[in-house]
Symmetry: C2
Subunit: 350 residues, 2 copies
């Protein structure tokens, strides 16, 4: 899709006929070759290079954030990224949303027999770059190969570990009436990039995934507001789902202002054509933060000074009214309930 | 396969028509229902119950063992266990092979649309029991649903964390000439159980998987021999692959005695009929340990006193001769090289 020739630059002479075979997952010689020639050069670090059955990590005393995600996105490459960036950034972000500094990742691959090795290589390159950008090391891994038809191309699980700084206690249960609900930028970019690419739709402006590692932005925000209540990245189910989770966990209401919601014009146009509400579409490089009202402007200014938060907005506020519900004051002045999504409009977007 | 009616006892009235739908992976209301009704009751613990995007763990200072594995076994249920037990025990064992006490697991599910909810429930029950038996908590998770045909029924990734005690330093690189190579019991049970079940073969005695959590045995062994050099569980690729990894990492040779290798009669008979060498077949409840020769008898005695090590044997020894190679003195007195497997004789056994 957005695969470029340079993505295939590879230490091995590879053709389209060089594919992953069942024996690459046997645990034997071909598995060792795959690890030596494809995985280790990309994820080089002393812990992984030991090639034991487990990474041994020197860990400070304190609180660890631990989170897992499997990536099954289809297609593997899409405007703005690939399953490789998603697999690193998605898990790094779930660590970061706990206020933790992401340090280590595991990576486990399920590969369909017949996947071109050049495709695997391009995905690993994307993971390498994303891990470097996010400041994390991939320290342990696993590879399984299943027969043709038993999985669709490639699934990647990453599990992340990070260290939660003292004094930071983020939880959806912390919300208080009057708190401000902030959003770090435009919504629905990732989901629409996948959808338009998958369906072969094109709009005047290219819609690109927003996949990014958010810890840099998190660190800036926590530095100015350690009293932060909660933070979450609105991936599957979009901002609507994240806010509903916040409302449910805290027993508070949330009131949004429709005109505050930032949506790129191309994304808004695509959503209108397709009949999709951007509030329910996945993002991969955005965060929703709830902060005490008194800190809202300071945090917004800090977000906007960071490249990943330039379009940050104050989306709404936490209310004692309507406990457990998310509502929106529309541009017309009416109110509507923003419910949890029931169906699945966009499967396999991450 | 070996699903029994009581495996389907479920808090919900389920029929074969109640299946997993794409919307169960949307992140929305059906995902929340699946988590509330199926996952949380099985893996109940305060960390998971917070339902944040990450588990926050109170961790002692020191060394952590961190390991990942995705389970794609086919069929999901087989004599002696299911993908549920494997997913817990397999990762717990990779943690334990580092000498670490397993404490926490993540669990990430990729489910094929249309999987009966009763099957998912039976797998979760198996995971619950296995986690209790192994003394670990499943503290964070993820669920993806892919459309029919995009994966075969159910894949489970588990990633494990454990604490390595001070003074324990296990590594395949540690082997010294003269060290004894010990094996905790009979080999090839798991791989043959899967194969005979999958192919519909039956032998006089039923062949059952040996899936088990090995930390109890590890703790006993480390207590009598903290100078242990290395430990590994011979899963994919079998004992032959594990020993080749040991030889390659340490630059030592390994010499086995054929008559020492313990194989159950039914497994041996099945291997002969099928033309399979049991040394290359996966185990899921055995460990290979390398210890200084002076400790070998003490460790063997400790293993044999533990239910999971009753059939432990001294398999051979580490040699300065033949660096990087594994050889075997056969019952006839000849020698042969035990190489890494090249092909894949038994795909999807774990």
């Amino acid at each position: 899709m957005s695969l470029k020739p340079e993505d295939f630059s590879c230490p091995l002479p590879l053709t389209a006929h060089d594919t992953v075979q069942l024996a690459h997952g046997s645990g034997g010689r071909l598995t060792a070759e795959l690890v030596d020639k494809f995985f280790l050069p990309r994820f080089a670090n002393p812990t992984l290079a030991r090639l034991e059955d487990q990474a041994v990590l020197d860990c400070p005393a304190g609180r660890l954030a631990f989170t897992t995600d499997t990536f099954v996105v289809d297609p593997l490459f899409f405007p703005g990224g690939s399953i490789g960036e998603l697999a690193v950034n998605g898990t790094v972000n779930d660590v970061a949303m706990g206020g933790a500094r992401p340090l280590w990742l595991s990576a486990a691959f399920v590969i369909e027999e017949g996947l071109p090795l050049a495709v695997l290589h391009a995905v690993l390159l994307a993971m390498e770059k994303a891990a470097q950008a996010a400041g994390v090391s991939i320290v342990t891994g696993d590879t399984k190969v299943v027969q043709k038809g038993a999985c669709d191309k490639l699934f990647i699980n990453t599990t992340g570990l990070g260290v939660v700084p003292d004094g930071i206690n983020l939880s959806a249960a912390n919300l208080q009436p009057g708190d401000a609900v902030l959003l770090s930028g435009t919504i629905a970019d990732h989901g629409l990039a996948i959808l338009t690419c998958r369906e072969g739709l094109s709009f005047e402006s290219r819609i690109e995934s927003d996949t990014a590692a958010l810890y840099g932005l998190v660190a800036v925000v926590l530095a100015v507001c350690p009293e932060m209540r909660a933070m979450r990245d609105p991936t599957r189910g979009g901002v609507a789902t994240t806010l509903n989770e916040f409302a449910k966990s805290s027993g508070m209401g949330i009131m949004l202002r429709e005109e505050a919601i930032p949506v790129r014009p191309a994304v808004r146009a695509a959503c209108e054509v397709l009949g999709i509400d951007p509030l329910y579409v996945a993002n991969e490089g955005k965060l929703v933060a709830v902060v005490p009202a008194a800190q809202a402007e300071t945090v917004l200014a800090a977000m906007r000074a960071h490249p990943l938060g330039r379009h940050a907005v104050r989306l709404g506020e936490v209310t004692a009214k309507n406990p457990g519900l998310v509502a929106m004051r529309t541009a017309l002045g009416t109110h509507r309930i923003i419910d949890m999504p029931v169906g699945e409009q966009l499967p396999r977007i991450c």
